[in-house]
Amino acid sequence: MAKFEYAPAPESRAVVDLKPSYGLFINGEFTETEGGSAFKSISPATEEVLAEVTDASEADVDRAVAAARRAFNGAWGRMSGADRGKYLFRIARILQERAREFAVLETLDNGKPIKESRDVDVPLAAAHFFYHAGWADKLEYASLGSNPRPHGVVGQVIPWNFPLLMLAWKIAPALAAGNTVVLKPAETTPLTALLFAEVCQQADLPAGVVNIVTGAGATGQAIVDHPGVDKLAFTGSTGVGKMIARSIAGTRKKATLELGGKAANIIFDDAAIDQAVEGIVNGIFFNQGHVCCAGSRLLVQESIADDVDKRLKRRLSTLRVGDPLDKNTDVGAINSKAQLQRITELTAAGEAEGATRWSPECELPSKGFWFRPTVFTGVSQTHRIAQEEIFGPVLSVLTFRTPHEAVAKANNTPYGLSAGVWTEKGSRILWMADQLRAGVVWANTFNKFDPTSPFGGYKESGYGREGGRHGLEAYVTTEGKA
């Protein structure tokens, strides 16, 4: 028993007003499904049922697209950029005002620590709306062409790892550019999107500009296939991303895809070692490793590999795994049983392949979905755990001798979302950044996001960028309308 035990410090759930069931948010109001069904959203930390949520039918998707189209042809399409911006400012402000509510709800539904939803997810989501509010009436400055215009109706499907933040990344630029939206949150994390619908109402956003349609794979497919949707934006697995790319082939429907990754976090022998260890930890254990750009491969220079291994394991033993609502929790619950099974299977494969497995000792709650932070050493490129995205708190450690070797190993993957470089030598940082085939390079830091900073991948990590001036490109067109 440690000398300094932290007593439980639970964030109160009382701030959230959970309804027993939720309909769909179409045309500015909550409405019952036409022909769809219901499913339950549970807390992955306790397996308790949080609420019943609608599984939207094709008819529901059709209604939502029609509402979005009417809004685009009507009030929203006629509105000046400055006025669109004002609605986005209102939304940003309300997110700030209701920040605690959103943070607690996100933690309940997703399983991530309250510390993260409170300090990262919700503030960044509000910041995205603030940033894009300012672009709405300045598009002519964004080097998007002489007369950038919105596409029309945008269909957006988002994942379960950062539910509210991914919603902000999708909706804010879409609306800033003048589009209207039909968005489907992930089936395991619909609740903050449904609360966001309330924010739209509080902001008096014209009906149909934002439509939230909950459901699972079939609902997502209905959105992808709908002929009334002009553009798609998807964040999720590479597998589904490829399906979408196939679905739209031969059509004029545009898409941006933000998919998986297997990022290399590269530590050189002259790195600021204590901060590098923090970077490793942030890279793969932040958000339980449910991060597309997670630093899931540690590439450590061989001469310091033992020292880094020792420091890393010592640091991991201070990580606190447990109740996501406890303010001192560092690592929360795995989002679903299915995801837990996948992580379990892949880590078993890692052991079978001959890598050495290690986890710090920590007690896990009896209910809920949990996985201890895990480190595999003695990993080589051909191991499944070095190639496949695990999407969990599992780190694979490989070594290298020279910068060229690090680059070769880092790039030797179909993915290309992000990479980390740790060295005190500036010229090496810039050289490495040039060589790495990744959309985001973090030098002496990791997992940093900002609404002004474009994010997206190379190769099978997807195409298109979100955030910054570059992120606006996907949401406007300079082509004539047919």
């Binding site: 400055a82 010229s427 490495m432």
Partner: protein, 309 residues
């Protein structure tokens, strides 16, 4: 509170409340001092009727304002763009809350109708919002990577120039004022503003909005008074980095060329007033601006770094 309604009432009628009238002071370093000279001057409405006594700022007030503005540069320029944008957006929120006061003062100062005053105030608030939204974007539009012919990372980025003296427009007492102040401070500069000589009241109310909006003291300093008296001291001040001469247009006894001459002593960046040759005119502030008022007060810094293993 409408100053115009109390004009000819020396004796209050039985059912009229005796109002508490506002004192108009300077805004320097986040505080509201009177002029160190102790002087004031009469401000009248468009029809010549008395509105208020405004502080008559002196060269020493301007000197103190520059000290305050310089002291505020490090913190304001060092804040994140996001933070500056939030603060500026908050100013717009507070202005919106004080609409009625601004409308009354603009109406009285400029002699426009109620409807026109409403429109001008709305535009002023919207103008402020427009500039607030630029804080975290202009660097992306104005800066960028330079593809030099060698193994170097080479980037150019805009930076604020420092302390900017601003002669606010003489005629457009709120919209024009906002249009010259917001672009200066959104990028991290601080401002010493000489308000419209004859129409200073909306400016002081604006300073109240600034003081209650998390704008750090010294970022904006407002001096009311005679433009011809104070402007030359700002134009020649060697700790002022740039000067906006918009308010030379229509100002009594002001020759903007002389001010530019004085500014040349320390090579201030000079934004000349609108107009042709020696004439200075006030432009149409209702037109949506471009980036020129931003870029006028930005320096460009270029950084090189080799790329090598």
């Amino acid at each position: 509170m409408s100053p115009a309604t109390t004009q000819n009432q020396r004796t209050p009628a039985a059912d009229t409340r005796v109002d508490v009238r506002k004192t108009y002071k300077l805004y320097i370093g986040g505080k509201f001092p009177r002029s160190e000279s102790g002087r004031s001057y009469e401000v009248t409405d468009a029809k010549g009727r008395f509105l208020a006594n405004a502080a008559q700022g002196s060269r020493k007030d301007a000197r103190d304002a520059v000290v305050a503005a310089r002291g505020a540069v490090a913190g304001w320029a060092g804040a994140t763009a996001y933070n500056r944008g939030q603060v500026l957006y908050r100013v717009a929120e507070v202005m919106e809350g004080r609409r009625a006061q601004f409308v009354a003062e603009v109406r009285a100062s400029e002699g426009v109708t109620e409807r026109q005053a409403e429109s001008l105030v709305s535009q002023a608030i919207d103008r402020w919002v427009w500039y607030a939204g630029w804080s975290d974007k202009y660097a992306q539009v104005l800066g960028g990577l330079n593809p030099v012919a060698g193994p170097y990372f080479d980037i150019s980025a805009p930076e604020p120039t420092g302390v900017v003296a601003v002669l606010a427009p003489q005629a457009s007492s709120l919209l024009g004022l906002v249009s010259v102040v917001a672009p200066v401070i959104v990028s991290g500069n601080t401002a010493v503003v000489l308000t419209s000589e004859l129409r200073p009241l909306p400016a002081i109310t604006l300073s109240e909005a600034l003081a209650t909006s998390d704008v750090p003291g010294g970022v904006v300093n407002l001096i009311t008074g005679r433009t011809a008296e104070v402007a030359p001291w700002l134009a020649s001040h060697r700790d002022v980095n740039a000067i906006d001469l918009a308010g030379a247009a229509g100002a009594a006894d002001v020759v903007w060329g002389d001010l530019e001459l004085a500014a040349a002593e320390n090579l201030k960046r000079v934004l000349r007033p609108a107009g042709t040759s020696a004439d200075a005119v006030e432009p149409d502030w209702t037109r949506t601006p471009d980036l020129s008022r931003l870029t006028a007060f930005l320096e460009t810094k270029t950084v090189w770094h080799p790329k090598g293993r």
